[in-house]
């Protein structure tokens, strides 16, 4: 019985300590503001996490847009309100699905890679040898990945939204025979630049911080064994997915909570 209580307490303290370490890593890495010499490192990481995620993001966006338009169309056509397909599609994508789905894809595609890479560096003692040589791993390894993630995810989200709206338009207009003018004018009349697009971008920035932070920290804090890397990679994907969905709920509540 006492052993059980001790175990619970021990695990809670360990959890707390890891939150503390995560905060320290984030603050310490961001505190080392990027110098001019770090820009090539950041560019390389933007290529790794942004450009290489483009294929999966564009493909998913097209399919999600097309499926949404199909569902909206079949339901709205019963009321003769096919012109509302565009509005529904644009609002759902800009406010919710765009930021959330892109962040989930990003966690799976880029977050896991970041964790595995940094985790392997730690396991093979590359991080400690860097410190030996007087190179700061937080500045050289962690910070560029954080900045690249912060930049890439919002841009990926914007691309996701555009591709998904076009995918939806192909279904609603070209395939189901909707009216193109009605599709666009409905969107332009209802979508507000701050309320819908601005808040969506804000959400994607929040998700970018959360996902990259978790990915980088899990790698940096890996237990230096082969199983440790596997565990850390899994934890990155699971934790970021859950956090993205939970934070999305909170953000939606606070942004659109009064449902005017």
């Amino acid at each position: 019985m006492i052993g059980f209580i001790r175990g619970v307490g021990n695990r809670s303290l360990e959890r707390l300590a890891s939150i503390g370490r995560a905060t320290l890593v984030l603050v310490a890495a961001l505190w080392r503001l990027p110098r001019l010499a770090d820009i090539p490192l950041i560019v390389k990481q933007i290529y790794q996490v942004g450009v290489l995620s483009l294929v999966i993001v564009v493909l998913s966006a097209f399919c999600i847009g097309a499926v949404l338009a199909l569902q909206f169309h079949t339901q709205l056509a019963r009321f003769g309100a096919q012109d509302a397909v565009g509005v529904g599609l644009a609002l759902v994508l800009l406010r919710e699905l765009g930021p959330v789905v892109t962040a989930l894809l990003f966690a799976g595609r880029a977050g896991s890679a970041i964790t595995a890479e940094i985790g392997l560096m730690k396991t093979t003692e590359q991080l400690s040898s860097m410190e030996m040589m007087g190179v700061d791993p937080l500045q050289r390894i962690v910070a560029p990945r954080l900045w690249a993630g912060f930049v890439s995810l919002p841009l990926l989200t914007a691309i996701f939204n555009v591709v998904a709206i076009y995918g939806g338009m192909m279904v609603a207009v070209d395939w189901m025979g909707g009216d193109q003018g009605g599709f666009w004018s409905g969107i332009q009349a209802e979508v507000d630049i701050w309320d819908d697009i601005g808040k969506g971008v804000l959400k994607s920035v929040a998700f970018a911080v959360v996902v990259t932070w978790i990915a980088v920290f899990q790698g940096y804090d890996t237990e230096p064994t082969p199983e440790g890397i596997g565990l850390a990679t899994t934890r990155t994907v699971v934790m970021s997915s859950v956090m993205v969905l939970a934070i999305d709920f909170l953000l939606t509540l606070s942004m659109y909570g009064d449902f005017k």
């Binding site: 090539p40 560019v43 390389k44 942004g50 450009v51 555009v162 005017k260």
Partner: protein, 152 residues
């Protein structure tokens, strides 16, 4: 050479993302940077705005001429004060212009329809439209009908 492809594709990616953002702002939200953005505000008092939303359409003869900017309540008289942001600079609509809250389709959104009058005097920024007709509320209509049926 390898580093160069990385840089070029990263640059292209950032460019594509920024273009997507601009596209969303311009094409999707319909922000028009070049158009004449001058507008003036006209108020109207309604006894009932039931379901009218801010940013709802204000139209004349079915053509959109502005948006509802704000809906406030005057507790003293129990009336709703609707401020409408109309395009242009005022001095066009006559002071006896009427305002009516209508519904688009059966399930559609509420909007305001303005009926231009014949007066020589015209409405400017901050003026109040006197001749208003509030939203039709289904329950009131049915209640009205029932009392009339009972009376006859």
């Amino acid at each position: 050479m390898r580093m160069r492809t990385v840089e070029i594709s990263a640059g292209a990616f950032v460019l594509a993302g920024t273009l997507a953002l601009i596209f969303l702002a311009v094409r999707v939200s319909g922000v028009n940077l070049t158009a004449d953005r001058s507008s003036y505000t006209v108020l109207a008092r309604f006894d009932d705005v039931a379901g009218l939303q801010t940013r709802a359409r204000v139209s004349i003869a079915g053509v959109t001429v502005g948006r509802v900017a704000a809906i406030d309540i005057d507790l003293e008289y129990g009336e709703a004060i609707v401020s409408m942001e109309l395009k242009g600079s005022g001095g066009v609509l006559s002071t006896d212009t009427g305002a009516q809250i209508l519904t688009e389709g059966i399930l559609g959104a509420r909007y305001i329809s303005l009926l231009p009058g014949a007066d020589e005097e015209t409405l400017f920024d901050g003026d109040v439209i006197e001749d208003t007709q509030g939203a039709m509320v289904l329950e009131n209509l049915i209640g009205d009908l029932l009392t009339r049926l009972g009376a006859s």
